[in-house]
Amino acid sequence: MVAAATARVGSTPVKEATPWRRFRRRMIRNRFGMGALLVLFVLVLAGVLSPIVAPHPPGDANFATVFQRPGTVGYVLGTDNLGRDILSRVLYGIRASLEVGVLAVLIAFVVGVPAGLLAGAFRTADVIASRGTDLLLAFPFLIMAIGVAAILGPSLMIAAVAIGIGAVPSILRVMRVETARIISLDYVTAARAQGAGTLRILSHYVLPNAASSLIVRATVIMPGAILGESTLSFLGLGIQPPMPSLGGMLADAQQYAEQAPWMAVVPGAAIVLICLSFNTLGDALRDALDVQVVSRD
């Protein structure tokens, strides 16, 4: 105690308070954030390793084991109307949901970040980008996704593309606001005075400084994308059987609600757990990174 106090009094601090250290300290102190990180780590691991850790093949129908209750030996979360192991199917479903989520976020970033940078830096690009986002927003995302699925045939990839495009306005807006904010800061003016071109300013100054806002935005888009995927799969427009998906499992569960309520409860709870973890992590990151939520552009 005394030693620590003396150390602090000394003119040079032992550890310099870099942004990264500050972020790490705040993050570790946030119990909910760390809990969410842990849950996500386990979920991602379980999803990625689902072919290894799943106790049964997900498509294995067995009419001898139809409608087993959760807790049955060998079928921890029970079985469905075809005697398939729900735990195994949920694990594969989590994997599919995460794949769609990651793909959708990537697509939204690939389109939204460059467009937002340009919109924030150039007047003409701003006009085009804001008309574009208005146009995207005027189409309800689901109708658009259904339309795309109807034209190109439903699949995991199509669902991810439709959801990713639907999320572009959100990324674009954040990037645009951040670009306009950072570009007007003094150190950018200083860089410009030293002869840095617009491209260099955008890539070396704006982008790194907008990173925390983008990371936070990604953790908001991710659960939204996973909810979107489950909705599309529920309607039969996302991931197609026999590939297991959480939304598809819920669609199956509708008919057997009275016989086998666990068929409806387990996959839904899995969706809630994934999304809740991402949202909690997003909150923790936002606090730790000091990001203001952009509510209006």
């Binding site: 309800p140 995302f141 839904g268 991402f278």
Partner: protein, 315 residues
């Protein structure tokens, strides 16, 4: 003020115009020939050609587009391929249902969200804040269709607390109408409430720390007047913004909720039309939704100026 409104109006028109072109092209990219679909069993080339001519599908694309828009402006969106009913009739039947559902959702979600946000901000660091934070996180994380499923299966059918399917028009009975719509609206409003709660809480916290609230308190205003009349009033502008931003998502959500609760709304019409490749219906729905979206955005913009006088000056 007027200038600002006119610019917004022009932008809205442009959006509708672009949307109509995108839909028109997308519909033509759909696999399958509508004329062949309409001909049904009788795949006689002469019959198909006649149908194509009747639908105007033999004309060049720009001409088809202009013709379509010309008719649409006169309220004629063509005829449904599957039901042979004019699309305008279908839209007229379904749009009021979705509008009522959306408005009721905004009211429910708005009240719940702002109430929870205020509670969370007022009792900062105590259990009400904790509770409202948890509820909002859950609200953002639960799929609507799952909530709807659980509500129908475990509350609707076993306890008979509310009708699980169908719809009564407003004209026939207000009570029955709201009875059919209230549970779908509450479920659909859960995410909206969650978003609103977070924003309201943040704004209220800012307000409680602001000097004007201190001034109001110093003047001896009652606590309820401080909270509702001043702090909450200033959060309204942001709440209205969020309602506007969430509108697209709300319309998407409405489609699924309508499908599950068997409400004859426009979202359900659209989903079924896409599945049955009923392209005049899809085209009509998207056009009407785009126009409604733009119109409501405009309305929200006007609301801003009413709620926040500073914007009027900003022009």
């Amino acid at each position: 003020m007027l200038r600002r409104f006119l610019i917004k109006f022009g932008q809205g028109l442009l959006t509708v115009f672009l949307a109509s072109i995108v839909v028109f092209l997308a519909i033509r990219a759909l696999p399958g020939d509508p004329a062949e679909t309409m001909a049904g069993e009788d795949q006689n080339p002469a019959v198909i050609a006649a149908i194509r001519a009747k639908l105007g599908l033999d004309k060049p694309m720009p001409e088809q587009y202009l013709l379509y828009m010309w008719h649409a402006l006169h309220g004629d969106f063509g005829t449904s391929i599957s039901s042979r009913v004019p699309v305008s009739t279908l839209l007229g039947q379904t749009l009021p249902v979705t509008l009522q559902l959306t408005v009721l959702t905004m009211v429910c979600g708005g009240i719940v969200g702002m109430l929870m946000g205020s509670v969370g901000a007022y009792w900062r660091g105590q259990w009400p804040e904790w509770l409202s934070s948890v509820l909002s996180l859950v609200g953002l994380s639960v799929p609507h269709f799952w909530l709807a499923m659980l509500a129908i299966i475990y509350v609707g059918t076993t306890m008979h607390l509310f009708p699980v399917s169908g719809y009564t028009p407003l004209r026939e009975s207000l009570g029955a109408n709201i009875g059919h719509l209230i549970v779908p609206a509450l479920i659909l409003g859960s995410a909206l409430a969650a978003v609103l709660m977070r924003q309201t809480r943040a704004n209220m916290l800012d307000a409680f720390g602001a000097e004007y609230i201190l001034a109001v308190r110093a003047k001896g205003a009652s606590e309820s007047r401080v909270v509702i009349g001043h702090a909450l009033r200033n959060s309204l502008v942001v709440a209205v913004t969020i309602l506007g931003l969430e509108l697209g998502g709300l319309l998407s959500g409405a489609a699924v909720i309508e499908q599950i609760f068997g409400l004859p709304g426009i979202g359900r019409l659209a989903i079924n039309a896409v599945f049955s490749r009923d392209y005049p219906v899809v085209q009509g729905v998207v056009l009407v939704v785009a126009v409604s979206y733009v119109a409501i955005s405009l309305l929200i913009d006007v609301l801003y100026t009413v709620l926040d006088p500073r914007i009027r000056v900003g022009g």
